[in-house]
Symmetry: C2
DNA sequence: CCTTCAATGTTGCCAGTGTCAACATAGATT
DNA sequence: AATCTATGTTGACACTGGCAACATTGAAGG
């Protein structure tokens, strides 16, 4: 006869959790949101889920792998936001601006998560193929938009990869400075984004070419 | 009679080090360069200097304070590089480009150090007045250059603070993507910097205004 | 010169961390 | 019903940052 119900928090099953991997990911993300990456502790995650501290090792190689999975999910969410903004706003010139706003907003709304993705916590070198694929996917959304606007004659006909990387660096830099609290005093994120896209367009738009 | 010479590694004095604060900073920076921030250990630093593991607490409040000092020095070095490029190249239009190149080069040459400065390890919120001052100083070098070029009629007459922040976000974004290994495959840092400044200028230069 | 004292460095100790090895249990397969 | 594999647990270990108490030094003041 089994001891007591000994029910875990999540699932009705007692010993086997059923979907622990998913639960671990969600819990890790919750902690990251509230306390930042530093607050993530394998023991704490286990305790919150009513599970042992090493249960995690049946689903992730180590702590780094867990954070890599969190980063992977971050790239996926980011891509969804970007594509949504692009499609919703009509895949045109204003949609490109909306993409930029959505990008920066994602970082500002999820600063700790964004830092897990880009803060050097996990590197895209060789290992973690899923992470690399998802990263490429997010970037591809931007490249596609750029290529589309080039095709419509809105943007100049430079190498779309270079052009997309250029704009990516810009929004990434804005996002990073913003979540690091490094923006000079009277400058707000919204103001900076608005101004940056204004200046960016003047350099990118075909009409600006003499 | 004193035991033995018991000489530490640095100074001829035995018990008192003489300039331990400086030595701690240098050693921390050396470790950061080689192993990254994760490799920094109070015990290891102490051992390398032939000093106890807690000797550090007579010169820094805690580990965070040590890293904040490293970041402060990083800002100082960065500002020196920027000013040097600006002055050496003649304070003109090409000098601005040289500043950008120097900025990205600093990050690429000292990736781990750069991440200590901007990676959210230490925040510029309230505490650490020296860090904030040095951060402001580095940014001011950029603002001064922008204002100078505006005065000479090379750049458009927008708010210099906004314009400077815009260019800063761009080089910061390039630097971050580069040291994170996130640049898409065939794009090199040098190529991206060159292209970005080309595009940036077309947006910034007064001549580009219809 | 001798005493006193603040600055600086040391040792003992603690809670907390990631991770491994050995073991326990459950659910699926035969 | 017996067996096997996936999944979860317990016990241990080395390592970390940090505190309290103690030790040593060089300088200041009589």
């Amino acid at each position: 006869m089994p001891r007591t119900t000994r029910a875990a928090r999540k699932s009705p099953r007692s010993y086997h959790h059923g979907n622990l991997r998913r639960a671990l990911l969600d819990e890790a993300l919750t902690i990251i949101r509230v306390e930042g990456v530093e607050g993530v502790t394998l023991r704490d995650i286990g305790a919150r889920l009513g599970v042992s501290r090493t249960a995690l090792y049946r689903h992730f190689a180590d702590k780094r792998a867990l954070l890599a999975a969190v980063a992977t999910e971050g790239f996926r969410m980011l891509r969804q936001q970007l594509v949504a903004a692009w499609e919703t706003e009509g895949r045109g010139d204003p949609a490109f601006h909306a993409m930029g706003v959505a990008y920066v907003r994602f970082a500002v709304d999820n600063p700790a998560h964004y830092r897990v993705i880009f803060g050097g916590v996990v590197e895209p070198g060789g290992k973690e193929p899923e992470l690399e694929a998802e990263a490429r996917g997010a970037f591809q959304a931007l490249v596609d938009a750029v290529a589309s606007l080039q095709h419509d004659g809105v943007f100049i006909g430079d190498d779309p990869l270079l052009l997309a990387t250029y704009t990516w660096a810009l929004v990434h830099g804005i996002a990073m400075l913003a979540i690091d609290g490094q923006l000079p005093d009277p400058v707000s994120v919204e103001e900076l984004v608005r101004y940056s896209f204004q200046r960016l367009r003047t350099g990118i738009l075909n009409a600006a070419r003499a």
